[in-house]
């Protein structure tokens, strides 16, 4: 890893200023960025740590409206939502391992938008809105493809807002070596419909399986999925861990499991 300047501002405003420097990069838990920098896939001139910004930390619940600060760790989300939103708590509690959860943050996870990450699915299914230092972006527009988001240069995810559904579950088929999902599905049932978000499958990153949403909105039962065609495997990630067709099959299986467990 090449050396860099290091700054640790305590306000969002100072962080935005610090990120205006040439080749500056935002740094949260570092659980993705540290390995990337060690491999010199990222060579920032300046690292701006977001971990000392108190206004970006914590979990607040107002009725069914949830606000999670961008610098809130997976471990905190797991703990804080255990009663009020168990499905999201469980998602956070199954990311990586305890050490990854002590450091990794929701802001870093959605900003990175790894095609196999957990939070993008949970956020998209929970009617998420990504709050940044300059605007609010609905999750449907925020996640734009593998490692691609609507974020502009130097824009910071300061919080993630969600709606707590009536019922929800995250069915994660784990890839045991990386502990990321091989494929995973987050199902959330609201009074006005069902959302089904799929991660670890599409070449385009997280997506909503709309056919399943329609079928489940008219009857929230795992059997409602049986009649649906499997999504097209040709558009799915194909690697040594599983072919596109295998992942497409998993999408259907994990959706049924999520509904049954919700």
């Amino acid at each position: 890893m090449y050396d860099f300047d290091f700054e640790r501002p305590t306000t969002i405003q100072d962080a935005v200023e610090a990120l205006k420097a040439e080749e500056a990069i935002a740094f949260s838990g570092g659980q993705t960025l540290m390995p990337t920098m060690k491999q010199r896939l990222a060579m920032p001139s300046k690292v701006v740590s977001l971990t000392a910004i108190d206004e970006m930390k914590g979990v607040r619940l107002d009725g069914t409206s949830l606000w999670i600060g961008g610098a809130t760790t997976h471990a905190t989300v797991k703990r804080e939502l255990a009663e009020s939103y168990p499905a999201m708590s469980s998602l956070a509690g199954r990311i990586g391992d305890p050490s990854v959860r002590s450091r990794g943050t929701i802001g870093g996870s959605v900003a990175n938008n790894d095609p196999s990450a957990c939070y993008p699915a949970g956020t998209l299914a929970s009617k998420g809105v990504i709050v940044t230092d300059r605007r609010e972006i609905p999750a449907d527009e925020f996640f734009q493809g593998m490692f691609m988001t609507a974020l502009e240069e130097g824009e910071i995810v300061t919080a993630v807002k969600m709606q707590v559904p009536e019922r929800a579950h995250y069915a994660k088929f784990i890839q045991p070596a990386s502990r990321f999902p091989l494929t995973a599905v987050y199902v959330a049932k609201f009074d006005d419909g069902v959302r089904v978000a799929v991660t670890g499958a599409s070449e385009m990153g997280v997506f909503r399986w709309t056919e399943a949403e329609e079928a489940l909105s008219s009857g929230f039962d795992a059997g409602a999925i049986d009649g649906l065609a499997t999504p097209d495997g040709a558009d799915m990630i194909s690697d040594l861990h599983g072919s596109g067709d295998y992942r497409a099959h998993l999408v259907k299986v994990m959706t049924k499991r999520a509904v049954a467990a919700a």
Binding site: D3, D5, P35, K38, S99
Partner: protein, 161 residues
Amino acid sequence: MIKIEMTVNGRPVSGEVEGRTLLVDFIRQTLLLTGTHVGCDTTQCGACTIHLDGEPVKSCSVLAAECAGARITTIEGMANADGSLSSMQQAFQDYHGLQCGFCTPGMVMAATALLEENPTPSEAEIRHHLEGNICRCTGYHNIVKAVQAASGQDVTPVAAE
């Protein structure tokens, strides 16, 4: 260079680091606390696990500069005040929870953190919690037994998955 101060194993320490200095390198090379091991250097194996403000972290994946003002505990800080082994360390010895010992500091730190959060974990919870700590020798069963014993629970005779 960045000047940092922190508390390590109850003692105040200070030093100068570069932006890129890893916490594990500061611990091993500046503080000369070499009980914390580096297995993979890529956030995978858990050999470098320490406690940062009470939570387990992989010190190969934390910048030293991030830890200014933090409270850190390493394996050297685990023994009791009189020098005797902590109950977790003793249980690793009693139940043969180590062979070559390379993963052991990280295992002990991870397992100790588990019992602080959950004093009587089930066997499944122990295994889930130790997923980020890799051991190439023991096959894990004796490590699970050690954690069961350290938490004052019955030890499963033949640990199953």
